[in-house]
């Protein structure tokens, strides 16, 4: 089940366009840049925000299945990538295991972990309602389709249960093949009932003017001072990060030998900007917490 966002998280309360833009930038950098500095920043920030948003235990729970994935990634790269100059040893089939491919595997595994953790917090921040708001802007018909489907999901799940109950009274299933047949019958009945009901939904839509030209999309969001403030920080930071990337300051070459771009002024600025950017949600929360404390001490 999707969680409702914690009400006290300031970043969750931001305009959907900002949350969306944030995750697009962070995920794009994480998934496309294989430079150790950027990946380390991304992984740490992702973990920190997830721990704040969920709980430290929730973070650990996710790490438990991310870690094996990371090991597999390293192993996979070592086994199947034989490029690179620094041969560590040879496999029995004569293929070389190189330092370069192992380092690549390590970085790829960090990338994977950071991505999974970012997606975990995205799952909490970008609720279906927020994503609908984003898609509603770009593709209103599709967004309505998704909203309606989300409305039908719990209904159909319930209908499946009810149908199973009713049918069990008539045909108590015994044995595996019987049970499968029973499941299929329940599915087929559910479809019939759901489609019959859907006709009423369609009537209700048409009677309320669906299909008239000039439909608008209402969203319960406002672009206020907080959004402007966040955007004023976010856009320049993203620009600096991008400038660093474009200027090759995040370049990482693995083959034939390891070669990571060393930080100069622009590189350092780009990394600092990325650090700040990744932690904007936490900073926003921190600021809000301070405001609250001040308010309370004033009372």
């Amino acid at each position: 089940m999707y969680k409702t966002p914690p009400r006290n998280d300031a970043f969750c309360a931001l305009h959907s366009a900002l949350s969306f833009a944030f995750y697009v930038v962070v995920l794009a950098v994480t998934m496309l840049v294989l430079h150790p500095a950027y990946l380390a920043i991304s992984l740490c920030s992702a973990a920190a925000y997830l721990a704040a948003l969920d709980t430290p235990r929730g973070l650990l729970r996710r790490l438990r299945w991310v870690l094996p994935l990371m090991v597999i990634t390293v192993f996979f790269n070592a086994m199947f990538s034989h490029r690179g100059m620094t041969v560590l040893f040879y496999l029995r089939n004569g293929n070389a295991v190189t330092l370069e491919s192992i380092v690549f595997g390590l970085l790829a595994s960090v990338m994977l972990a950071a991505t999974v953790l970012w997606f975990a917090s995205l799952h909490i921040v970008l609720t279906s309602e927020k994503l609908m708001a984003v898609t509603g802007r770009l593709a209103p018909a599709l967004s309505l389709l998704l909203s309606m489907a989300l409305r039908f999901v719990p209904r159909i799940s319930r209908q499946i249960k009810r149908t199973a109950q009713a049918q069990r009274a008539l045909y108590p299933p015994a044995g595996l093949s019987d049970r499968l047949r029973f499941g299929v019958r329940v599915l087929s009945v559910t479809v019939s009932v759901a489609l019959e009901n859907a006709v009423v939904t369609a009537d209700s839509m048409r009677s309320r003017g669906y299909g008239l030209p000039g439909r608008t999309a209402f969203r319960r969001e406002r672009w206020g001072a907080r959004e402007r403030g966040f955007a004023a920080l976010f856009v320049p930071l993203a620009a600096v990060v991008l400038a660093g990337l474009l200027a090759g300051r995040a370049a990482a070459n693995f083959y034939p030998s390891l070669d990571f771009a060393a930080p100069d002024a622009l590189g350092a600025a780009s990394r600092a900007a990325f650090t700040l950017l990744c932690n904007l949600p936490l900073l926003l929360n921190r600021k809000e917490a301070l405001t609250w404390r001040r308010l309370r001490s004033n009372i």
């Binding site: 309606m148 109950q165 009713a166 087929s188 019939s192 009932v193 009677s207 003017g209 608008t216």
Partner: protein, 549 residues
Amino acid sequence: MASVAFEHLTFTYPLAETSALRDVSLTVREGEFLLLCGVSGCGKTTLLRHLKTALTPHGARQGRVLLDGEALDTWDERAQAQRIGFVLQQPEDQIVTDKVWHELAFGLENLGADERTIQLRVGEMASFFGIQTWFDRETDTLSGGQKQLLNLAAVMAMHPDVLVLDEPTGQLDPIAAAEFLRAVQRLNRELGVTVVLSEHRLEDALAMADRAAVLEDGRLVALGTPEEAARALLAQASPFFAAMPAPVRLWGALGAEGPCPLDVRAGRALLRRVHPAGRSPSVEPDPEGAPLLTLREVWFRYERSAPDVLRGLDLTVHTGEIFAIVGGNGSGKSTVLAVLSGLQRPYRGKVQRGSATVAALAQDPRAMFWRDTVRAELEDAARALHLSSPEADARIADAAESMALTALLERNPFDLSGGEQQRAALAKLLIRRPDVLLLDEPTKGMDAAFRASLGALLQALCARGTAVVLVSHDIAFCARFARRAALLFDGRLLAEGPARAFFAGNHFYTTAANRMARPWLPDAILCEEVIDACRSAQTGAGERSSPPR
């Protein structure tokens, strides 16, 4: 504000032999509250759907429909969508989106309203209906009554001039239904919205309406104030008069003198003049059958950490009886049925089922169908029992006959009316020859005639030894057909006993007839009993004159 009118409207569905509407002429005045009634299938829905081109059924049509004096089809779709609000019977199916706030905004989005307008209107309607506390919720988590209120509010956010409601309370329990109708009344009184409402449960609606119109076989047979309509029905000896609220029936039976009483208070005033006397003809309770199914001190909850739903419940079902369980929403009525059927197991207490077979009828009978014809459904149910073919044929014929399905055997179960679907589902269960039949709200959405025929069918089953346990909000139905009854409250059955004693002893959970006649005839629970007592009082007037109490 607006008026709507039908002018000599005749309508025939494709392939139908008879017309669904015949020469209906009816004007709904500006700001009026018009109640449209009639038995199921009399053409109410067909007539109402003519009030919106987008919903109008296909078929052959003569006559005209007017909005503000101009033909409806000259109004464009946008004007129709905005000016005429439509609320249908199924609360659940009308909801389009997943969030309450989005549902409220849906119609305005379609009209292309800008954000400020939408915000204001949605906020206004949410406040008017008291929705603001569940504004953020997902539509799926609402109760049936809340869903229907949301549908009403979503329509009202578009600021319609005419509100058309097609049996909007059919799927609601009595308390939610009364609340819904009060909201409609407020819209009519406070905002001046013209209301056209069709209903089969007339107790609340008739007293609210300015005028009532009665359809019979697609023809308008009565039109006027509730009293005029009642007099017209009485004069024509219409069978639909039996569906009128108890005070009206009483008034009609006593010669329709004086103003027509529309509620219990007015009915009592009428009785005060008549002075019904004597004991109501109390029927001796039949000797109890053998116990079939017993629950002893049953405790149940759905999850370990959840609160108890049943708390030491005792219940015995005997052969050949109809046992009715009444109680409020969420009192656990459906849970009792689930325990009786063995679907749920109590964590404490005993269920003694012996060799009795139990069959439960789903609330939505459609959940029991999956074949293309009623006959195939019945054959399927028989096949699952591995019967010999003559035995299977005999059972199918028997079940079809006892549920009055013989004429419907070749129809697709999904094309039947609600009442017919229920009978088909019951027939499927009867193939198994169950000893106990469990029914959950069997009269939901059914009109008076269907209820009466269902009751008769159930009594016929009981005469053959089957026991029926039903949970229902329909007090009148339970009072008429049940042999024993009990109130479920706080996880226990209270005041379990013969139905007459049970209903006569209650103050709220009893029939309107009993509430009216209580000071004079404390044991009368059916309207006929009150009428009989009044008639005998009228004939024997003078013999007794002691004032009651």
